[in-house]
């Protein structure tokens, strides 16, 4: 009996030791490696252990709606605004942005490297029917890609076998693209951190239409009483603080800065 009680006490002790908070983030944020820099700093400064659930934006929003996480950090403005309007989140706070890039085979059969803007690049890919890999998983990246196709007035899902919607995360889709020697739209961070590039190269980037804004949304505690709003608030304060700005702006892969901090204090 004493042994059982001790075991229970140890278990409880373990649970109260660190204040934990669940944050749903997108795969692109996690694959960038920035979280490995931010999380230890957050724990050091605020004492909060942030547990990351790495999912697509679609699933992140679902987790927030169900109250299974305390906050979300995602990058799909329309979905975010609907989330807040639906009363699931309290407010939307912009934190930072990075950008999307077009990656493809080094021979570049569609010649997108010389396309003036993102829409032209997509039109050229569609014209040459060069293989293209789409995330196809309702993630922020996928939604961005679809909005660009819409801007190009094309409906690639119907236009044939060159368009492959793989329904997977950024890394898995990049793996598919490097296997098929296909074009793909990826966020810059995931691309730079990706280890299986093979014949793929970064071909096009820099169009302002490709900017990718990340926003932090606390889950509404009026709807889900168990949400740790106090810890969430401290996390938000930290994420918008000068310390976070240093770390985010200073994060580089292969000498290239990835994120630009743009939270307003």
């Amino acid at each position: 009996m004493i042994r059982i009680l001790t075991a229970i006490l140890i278990l409880i002790g373990v649970q109260v030791r660190a204040e934990t908070l669940r944050l749903a983030v997108t795969t692109s944020f996690h694959n960038s490696g920035l979280s490995d820099v931010l999380l230890p700093a957050i724990q050091r400064d605020t004492g909060i252990e942030v547990q990351l659930l790495v999912v697509g934006t679609g699933q992140a929003i679902r987790l927030g709606e169900a109250g299974d996480v305390d906050a979300v950090l995602v990058h799909s403005r329309k979905a975010e605004e609907a989330f807040v309007e639906g009363g699931f989140g309290t407010h939307r706070r912009e934190i930072m942005y990075n950008d999307f890039v077009f990656v493809g085979p080094s021979l570049d059969p569609a010649d997108i490297a010389n396309a003036g803007d993102a829409v032209t690049a997509l039109k050229r890919i569609a014209q040459t029917k060069a293989p293209f890999v789409s995330r196809g998983d309702d993630s922020g990246t996928h939604k961005k890609e679809l909005s660009l196709w819409a801007a190009a007035e094309l409906a690639p899902e119907q236009s044939g076998r060159w368009y492959n919607a793989v329904g997977a995360g950024m890394g898995a889709s990049l793996n598919t693209a490097s296997g098929l020697e296909a074009y793909i739209m990826a966020d810059r961070a995931s691309w730079l951190n990706f280890g299986n590039k093979q014949d793929l190269e970064l071909l096009f980037s820099g169009d302002p239409a490709l900017f990718n804004q990340y926003a932090f949304i606390p889950v509404n505690s009026a709807r889900h009483a168990h949400v740790k709003s106090d810890a969430v608030m401290r996390l938000e304060t930290w994420l918008t603080s000068p310390v976070a700005r240093e770390l985010i702006n200073g994060y580089k892969i292969a000498g290239e800065p990835l994120f630009t901090f743009n939270a307003t204090p």
Partner: protein
């Protein structure tokens, strides 16, 4: 081919240096799958044996269902357990989602039919052999089940190990209900999926070899402890 070799080297390096992350996720893999195995065995071994000796109206249907459930898709189990344990689901108040407990629950559901089905198969044959003896000794139902389980323990061990094999290598369900949270619910299989996603095939393969080694080790350990497959006795 080079990548496979690099993977073996990575596995070796991880094990030799006792990489703290590796030790942690390996222990968690073991904790989750062994707990699931113990719970599932406690349900499935008596259930399978009971099905072998008991005649009742829907017996055939029950057994057919059990056999079909052996192929239960883990992703579906994961999704259902997720919806049940979600804060918006019926058991949401327990706050179990994204904890090792949730992963154990999902794995119990996945491996119980497998263990019960193999148990039933083995016990049916053993029961045919023991039937007359146990009936003539006027044993109670409980005694019969217990005798069969004790005398059929080697086959039952196989059933349990098959269940463990399925649990330790499973990724679809625990990814959904565990969430692959670093330092909380990351296990070997979900870590492999993550590293593959990052395109780091070497580390993914390294972890894969660690997983295979772990499965072998557990099998050897259980055989050694239960003294089966030894010289002179089988």
């Amino acid at each position: 081919m080079n990548e496979i070799w690099a993977g073996i080297q990575a596995a070796f390096r991880l094990i030799v240096t006792l990489d703290p992350d590796l030790v942690q996720i390996t222990l968690r893999s073991l904790q989750v799958s062994l707990s699931a195995l113990v719970i599932a065995s406690a349900i499935a071994l008596p259930l399978g044996t009971w099905l072998a000796i008991r005649r009742f109206r829907f017996r055939r249907l029950t057994i057919a269902t059990l056999n079909a459930l052996m192929g239960l898709p883990p992703v579906v189990v994961g999704l259902i357990v997720y919806l049940l344990l979600s804060r918006s689901g019926p058991f949401g108040v327990l706050g179990l989602l994204f904890t090792p407990t949730a992963m154990i629950i999902a794995q119990v559901i996945i491996i119980t039919p497998l263990i019960a089905s193999i148990t039933h198969q083995a016990m049916r044959e053993l029961w045919a052999e023991y039937h007359d003896l146990l009936i003539s000794l006027n044993t109670t139902k409980r005694q019969r089940i217990w005798t069969l389980i004790r005398d059929g323990r080697r086959t039952l061990l196989t059933a349990a190990l098959a269940g463990f094999g399925r649990a330790i290598g499973e990724v679809g369900a625990i990814m959904i209900v565990g969430g692959n949270i670093d330092n909380a619910t990351r296990v070997l299989t979900t870590a492999i999926a993550l590293e593959t996603g990052k395109g780091d095939f070497t580390l993914a393969l390294g972890l894969g070899f660690v997983l295979i080694a772990l499965a072998l080790l557990v099998n050897f350990a259980i055989h050694a402890l239960s003294r089966t497959e030894r010289e002179g006795r089988w």
